[in-house]
């Protein structure tokens, strides 16, 4: 009888030594899953070489098919660049830009000023100039909702410059980001 009790106690200790960690495991019932889907996009026009800009008064420049003001509403034929959703899922396209760099840089803003510019983005279907997205440093905005896999979307830009006190060349970056539409 004593031997039986000792055996049972030993068995109990062994089982508890395995069971307690499982009981205490905080991650046992937390799940993480992901479906194999692919995010990818291409953009046909990688750059906009504006050239020399007016330095004594505000000026305006359009990155459209013909370099002229975009139409209203904006039509695909007048847009400059084509985004293609080369990924596997229905996606949204967002856009953001950063302040121009080079010498005394240009700040992106909603109105022109000294060393301050306005950079706008428009795309097919935008109603008018007023609907164009005004890009501010680092702030994402939606350019296109629900672009199908293999779908394309055309877009363009409009730059308004103010005055500036430095003539060094300036460089700006615009980033298109893609995210699954849910």
């Amino acid at each position: 009888m004593k031997r039986l009790i000792v055996s049972l106690i030993l068995a109990l200790v062994l089982i508890l030594s395995f069971a307690l960690p499982a009981l205490a495991d905080p991650t046992a019932d937390v799940t993480v899953t992901a479906t194999p889907e692919y995010l990818a996009l291409t953009n046909s026009e990688p750059a906009w070489a504006i050239g020399n800009v007016e330095d004594s008064k505000p000026a305006t420049y359009f990155w459209t098919n013909d370099g002229l003001i975009w139409d209203e509403p904006m039509t695909a034929g007048r847009m400059k660049s084509t985004i293609t959703n080369t990924g596997s899922v229905l996606s949204d396209i967002n856009v953001h830009a950063h302040n121009f760099t080079g010498g005394t840089g240009w700040t992106l803003a909603a109105a022109v000023g000294l060393n301050t510019v306005v950079l706008k983005v428009g795309g097919t279907g935008f109603a008018n100039e007023g609907a164009a997205l005004v890009l501010l440093d680092g702030a994402d905005q939606e350019l296109k909702d629900s672009l199908a896999s293999s779908g394309t979307y055309k877009w363009a830009m409009h730059l308004e410059t103010g005055t500036f006190d430095n003539g060094d060349p300036k460089t700006g970056t615009v980033t298109l980001t893609i995210v699954k539409h849910v």
């Binding site: 991650t27 046992a28 990818a40 893609i178």
Partner: protein, 187 residues
């Protein structure tokens, strides 16, 4: 004596019936950052849709996978990980920035993250440089510290979202980036 033995047998049976061995975690184990670029087997199966070999199709593209990571039944103290796969489709090396991002918009029923949520996300390799045509997995871990359980009890039962952004370092004026949605459902 017999009663004591019966009692112990009963306890033993209750424990064996109530205990489970902890399941093998569904996410890969955190490993040290590799010293040299490697192409590792992703925990995500390669094919996203029937009949399309996406990784072959996108071989010459910059792509990221998956598009969405879902964490379910989450509670503070738990740590969950997933590897985001990045592919450099260029014929030259390219470097990327992997970072936490507040969503531009959230999925239906999901809230924006709390400001401190970025401190709950750990990215193993924030500035990977990939060789031409290389595919690399970058581990992302998510954990709300257990000691903050009371502080964040308000999150109990909620659903919220954050993004992990992968951006290629600018090569031109117009560049591209990819946002992976992380959908968190709290216990």
């Amino acid at each position: 004596m017999r009663n004591a033995v019966m009692f112990m047998v009963l306890v033993l049976m209750l424990i064996m019936g109530g205990c489970t061995i902890a399941p093998i975690p569904s996410s890969p184990t955190l490993v040290p950052e590799p010293a040299a670029p490697t192409s590792v087997v992703s925990p995500v199966p390669a094919q996203a849709s029937a009949g399309v070999d996406w990784e072959t199709k996108l071989f010459n593209n910059f792509w990221v996978s998956p598009a969405v990571v879902e964490i379910g039944n989450y509670h503070s103290g738990a740590r969950k990980e997933w590897r985001i796969r990045i592919h450099n489709g260029r014929d030259t090396k390219s470097d990327y920035l992997v970072s936490y991002k507040v969503p531009v918009e959230t999925a239906d029923g999901y809230a924006m993250p709390l400001p401190e949520a970025e401190f709950w996300v750990m990215i193993a390799e924030r500035t990977p440089m990939l060789a031409p045509k290389e595919t690399r997995d970058v581990l992302v871990a998510f954990a709300i510290p257990d000691e903050e359980n009371t502080k964040y009890s308000k999150l109990a039962g909620t659903k919220w979202e954050f993004w992990i952004r992968v951006v290629e370092n600018p090569k031109a004026m117009v560049n591209s980036g990819y946002d992976v949605r992380w959908l968190v459902q709290m216990r």
